[in-house]
């Protein structure tokens, strides 16, 4: 385990590497008005709850950063076209930005985060052949994970009432929109068949969809079916710091699955997504 830190040195003796990091961590569009935020205007309990959720987000973004970095190195072994490398260079920068924003948000709330990272948990997927691993990771982390994440952050942007939270979530939404487009394009390109090996790998991936759906449902606080999620308030009462209620996260999961994930997986050649999702909903209802 190690504690995730934001900066290597103090602002007084800033390092060259820190300056480069901060350039990457700036939003691609717009500006975040950190200094306008006044934490004293909010109840301590609200600030505690918001900081806890932003700290958890930092850990999830760090996991994405580790996964996409590993994936990029594998693309180079597989002979992917160079524009894939360029797109992934941006993906890595985006995840660095998101992790930084989450930790900085906690600092702005007056509750510095020190989330712990377990290196053993940084790999989501089992190791298979490099090509099978890349395809599996793209489908899991992008077509499913980033698509759900996009839905979640767009909702969070809509409900955020605290101006600083709107700025931070808005910066993340800009990146998530690109991640969704990239993920589906890569997923489709990786589903091109080149023989029997592909057929075996496709079947293995199709058989794993039910497990992947359950994994992301768990990350999204899903504890019951879509009827429950859509019947509860999407946000908790009080000032909103860009976060949703448990039912709100679950609703983002179900909406994303039904609007984008399942139809998209079917379109790229994984029709098994439909029965896998139906089975999950049946289990939960």
């Amino acid at each position: 385990m190690y504690v995730l830190k934001r900066l290597s040195g103090s602002p007084r003796d800033a390092l060259a590497l820190t300056a480069e990091h901060e350039a990457i961590a700036r939003p691609r569009k717009g500006e975040i008005r950190w200094t306008d935020f006044d934490a004293s205007a909010y109840d301590a309990s609200e600030l505690d709850a918001a900081a806890e959720l932003w700290s958890q987000r930092a850990v999830q973004e760090m996991h994405s950063l580790a996964l996409f970095t590993e994936l990029t190195s594998q693309l180079h072994l597989l002979g992917a076209p160079l524009d894939w490398s360029g797109a992934f260079a941006r993906m890595i920068a985006d995840e660095v930005r998101h992790t930084d924003l989450c930790i900085r948000m906690c600092e702005a709330l007056g509750r510095s985060a020190a989330p712990e990272i377990d290196p053993a948990r940084l790999r989501l997927l089992a190791q298979v052949s490099p090509r099978g691993h890349v395809r599996h990771t793209i489908v899991a982390a992008f077509c499913i994970g980033e698509t759900i994440s996009g839905h979640m952050f767009r909702r969070a942007l809509r409900v955020a009432t605290v101006p600083l939270a709107r700025d931070v979530v808005g910066a993340i939404v800009v990146d998530e929109t690109f991640h969704g487009e990239l993920g589906w394009e890569l997923g489709a390109l990786l589903m091109r068949s080149d023989g029997e090996v592909f057929d075996a790998e496709r079947t293995m991936l199709a058989n794993d969809l039910a497990h992947l759906f359950r994994h992301y449902a768990s990350l999204c606080c899903v504890s019951a079916g879509p009827t429950w999620a859509r019947g509860e308030p999407e946000v908790d009462e009080g000032s909103n710091f860009g976060t949703l209620s448990a039912a709100g996260y679950a609703r983002a999961f179900f909406d994303a699955m039904e609007a984008d994930v399942v139809p998209g997986l079917v379109a790229i050649g994984l029709p098994e997504a439909e029965p896998a999702y139906a089975a999950l909903v049946s289990e939960l209802s």
């Binding site: 693309l75 072994l77 597989l78 002979g79 992917a80 076209p81 894939w84 490099p130 090509r131 890349v134 589906w184 394009e185 997923g187 489709a188 390109l189 990786l190 589903m191 091109r192 068949s193 080149d194 023989g195 090996v197 592909f198 609007a259 984008d260 139809p263 998209g264 079917v266 379109a267 790229i268 050649g269």
Partner: protein, 104 residues
């Protein structure tokens, strides 16, 4: 997801594979041309074959390190023996076998 986007995704799944086995075969097939450029200045050092065997006999080949694109050591090795496949572009170089006359 809208229908036209789903249709576009379905179209993207058609065509030649862009990564993986197909690319590797193209790069390592018998018609592939090995690159002639020297290693990049940032390349990691190439592992060299161990030299702690007895000196080679007079009929041994010159002690040249293999390249990453080196063909199998003997033409008859090419995919013939159990578990012996063609080396991929990124396969580590094979360890050179000792010359037949190296040991009694």
């Amino acid at each position: 997801m809208r229908n036209h986007r789903l249709g576009r995704l379905a179209l993207l799944t058609q065509g030649a594979a862009l990564v993986g086995l197909g690319m590797t075969q193209l790069a390592c097939g018998k018609d592939a041309t090995p690159p002639t450029e020297p290693s990049h200045v940032n390349s990691p050092p190439m592992p060299r074959p161990e030299v702690d065997v007895a000196p080679p006999g007079p009929s041994a080949p010159p002690d040249l390190p293999p390249t990453t694109n080196a063909p199998p050591m003997n033409a008859s090795d090419a995919g013939a023996g159990p578990g012996i496949g063609r080396p991929t572009m990124n396969a580590p170089p094979k360890k050179l076998p000792p010359a037949p006359s190296a040991k009694p």
